[in-house]
Amino acid sequence: MKRPLALACLACLVFANDGTRADRTTAAKTLADYRYFRALSIDLVGRPPLVDELAAYEQPDFVLDRWLDKQLASPEYAERITRVYLDLLRLEVPQSVLFHTASTDLQATHVLDPNGRDVTLYFRQAQRRRNAAIDGQVCFTEDESGLKVPHDAAAIGSPKPIPKALWDARTVLVKPWWLYADYRAKDPQDRASPDWVQRFGGFELMQELFVERDKTPMTAVRVCREEAQTAEQGKVFVTGRTNVKGPVPAGRLTRPPSDSRFAIANSGKLVSCITDNGVKSSAECGCGIGLERCLPSGPPGFMMPTEAPLGVREPFQKTARPAHLWMRTWWTEEASHFMARIFEDDRDVRELLTSRATTVNGPLALFYRTMSNSRCCGDVADLFGYTTPEPLFDPAAVPANVVVQDTTTWVTIADRGPHAAGLMTMPIFLLKYGTRRQRAHAVYSTFLCKDFVANNVKLQPSQEPDLTKRPGCATCHTRLEPLAAYFTRIPEGNWTYLPPALFPISLDRCKQDPKNMHSGCKIYYDPAFTSTSHTVLRGAHASPHNADAGPQGLATEITSSPEFAPCVVKNVAESLLGRPLTAEDGAWQTAMAKTFVDGGFRMRALVRAIVTAPAYRDVNDQRSGR
């Protein structure tokens, strides 16, 4: 698309100033007028004009300014500008990236009940149970059910009816969140039915999830008793098993869980059941009321849009998938709705990076209330005293009245919590860009329109661990490493927050010989920058200050940069013009940036200025064949 200057000059057309502009409504419309109106309609309405809209355009009383005002306040306009940033950030993750955690995965298997009936039984593979024979697996032994149940696979063996006393003792019926809209009520009655598709605008279950195999209505699901517990906290228990080795006990597919360092250190103490630690160390932690802390990983009964170029409300193709994939869909939608809200309400564009607000629907409300902390805090977290998550999204900020099945009502949450920073602290961003450097690069290139390019640099062998100093690497990493440091406190591939009080930039007890460094220290502190006298939190070496400033610090740095406004202009203008801005556009880009800044960083004024500028109206080479 780039053209030499001479060619571009040749392409400049000379128009007679004969009053053919579209806003000259009293004159007969020319072909250029119609094409301009069509372009506006495509960009601001999302489709070419309809015949009656063309007829209105042809009327003498048509006022383009008024029409623009209307379109620039419409959801279609917001969707168009959102698409600019979605194209840049590409906030979706491939199928291989799964939201699978030990605490949220509720596996479905089939067993025979005391009457010999084939029943779906839900359980967690990581569930702790007091009975050593079934601790950390399904709640029946092979002797009792005739089956061994592998992780995420069909049961192995010949099923046999489970004795009634055992059945009653080990399992319970629960009315789960996916089957009852009022699952938190004392006696839930609002059961899933085909009309939920209309009522909740897209919450659609396959029959397997609300009809029994014998075609009778499913009124509850059978769950192992420990999983059905609803306590918020559970007592840590120890079994005396440490470092279990040797052959797998008969009837099991795995060895029973060993006591973790955390369990040994905290035996008898209460632990939060919404954390990974709680599930792995307490037999009193279940899936909560209506199993709301868990996602059924089977059967694949959650209908979700798999082709939705016009948005999930207008799917072109739907497929039944397990709940964890369904939930992932909403992470992308959160980012999309968050951006659309900023553009539709004409809020300050800097909020894309700085805002502590967000927008959630039913599934996201469920996720943030009960599941988002399930990745906290890991077996070694107790080494640092980190057992209660400090979340990026405070679960208490989620309104209680959001119906989890309601996928179409989006509720704005004004404050996610003190660590929130626009798109940068959303799960989809943190998963899409899993590493600190990826995250920094995505923000740097999208919002400053700059990239890391090393021209003619020769890389030389080096032992220097600091890439800001290593010859060759330093060309880019001098800038990249301090930016990446802003994400120090959000571990890679995760979205929990490492509080400074528990994870200082340098921790005395992790100052060790890097070759013999404690495994717990190694997870959080970088062996490459550790010695007996020094250590540093992973990612912080280039800028401890930025590490403590966090994503909010990055938001401040980026949005206060003089390159931020011209970059917004560049991204939006290039998308609307359909061509890259060149040096010839420099003065115009500067003027647009001034309009944008003077207008309080609002997108509406900028887009209006762009689409009414000659650069947009006369963007096409009108010569024949172009």
């Binding site: 100033n17 069509r38 309609s41 082709e307 799917p315 072109f316 013009l577 000659p614 650069a615």
Partner: protein, 216 residues
């Protein structure tokens, strides 16, 4: 001789000077103000696939994608949405595939196929149905229209797909499309569609696939 020559020089030099009448100022003809357009130019942009799809659903009477699929399929006119979507150049964020910036033969073939499905189904729906429910052929059909009768109806289709009246198109456009209409109608006098229906379906399909429909 010399004396005569001297007298001539003196006479010329001392004679009454010749006077030239000043002419009246006349303004230059043909003057008008011209404005130089210095903005960089580019080729026309491709209509984004999302816009194309939105327009397509609108032309189908504002149906949902699932309803369009139900209505369009049959007689192998329409396969599955997924078959077309991948060809239209949509981005795939999950695998970092950007949106297509240029057309290609597969994309044009997909648009052609979608266009044919739309036009055939619209003929069946609009030309045989209630006048107030017509979405694409929003005019009163007549059998074997004359050139002028064709032109006024063609204008409706031209506005629908190309967003401007046919009178502003190149001068031969109406005649070329009228020739297409007559040619197709003559060759498809029998079949699932009548001769006139076949003619209108062909005109519609040609407009949907017209370069101006996919560019802006």
């Amino acid at each position: 001789m010399i004396r005569r020559a001297v007298l001539l020089v003196v006479a010329v030099a001392c004679g009454r000077p010749e006077t030239i009448e000043p002419s009246r100022a006349v303004p230059f003809g043909g003057y008008s103000e011209l404005a130089l357009d210095p903005t960089p130019k580019g080729h026309r942009r491709m209509v984004p696939p999302e816009v194309y799809l939105r327009a397509y659903l609108t032309w189908f009477g504002g149906l949902s994608p699932a309803q369009v699929f139900q209505k369009a399929r049959g007689r192998k006119l329409f396969d599955q949405w997924a078959d077309y979507l991948v060809a239209l150049g949509l981005p795939d964020y999950a695998i970092d595939a950007p949106r297509a910036a240029q057309s290609n033969t597969v994309m044009l073939a997909a648009m052609g196929r979608l266009g044919e499905a739309l036009c055939v189904r619209s003929v069946e729906h609009d030309l045989r149905g209630r006048p107030d429910k017509r979405a694409v052929f929003a005019f009163e059909p007549i059998a074997n229209p004359s050139r002028d009768e064709f032109a006024s109806r063609f204008d409706t289709l031209h506005r629908t797909f190309l967003s401007y009246p046919a009178r502003l198109a190149p001068a031969d456009r109406v005649d070329r499309f009228y020739a297409l209409y007559r040619s197709v109608a003559a060759r498809h006098a029998s079949g699932l569609l009548s001769a006139d229906e076949s003619g209108w379906a062909a005109v519609c399909a040609a407009l949907v696939q017209h370069p101006e429909t996919g560019l802006y």
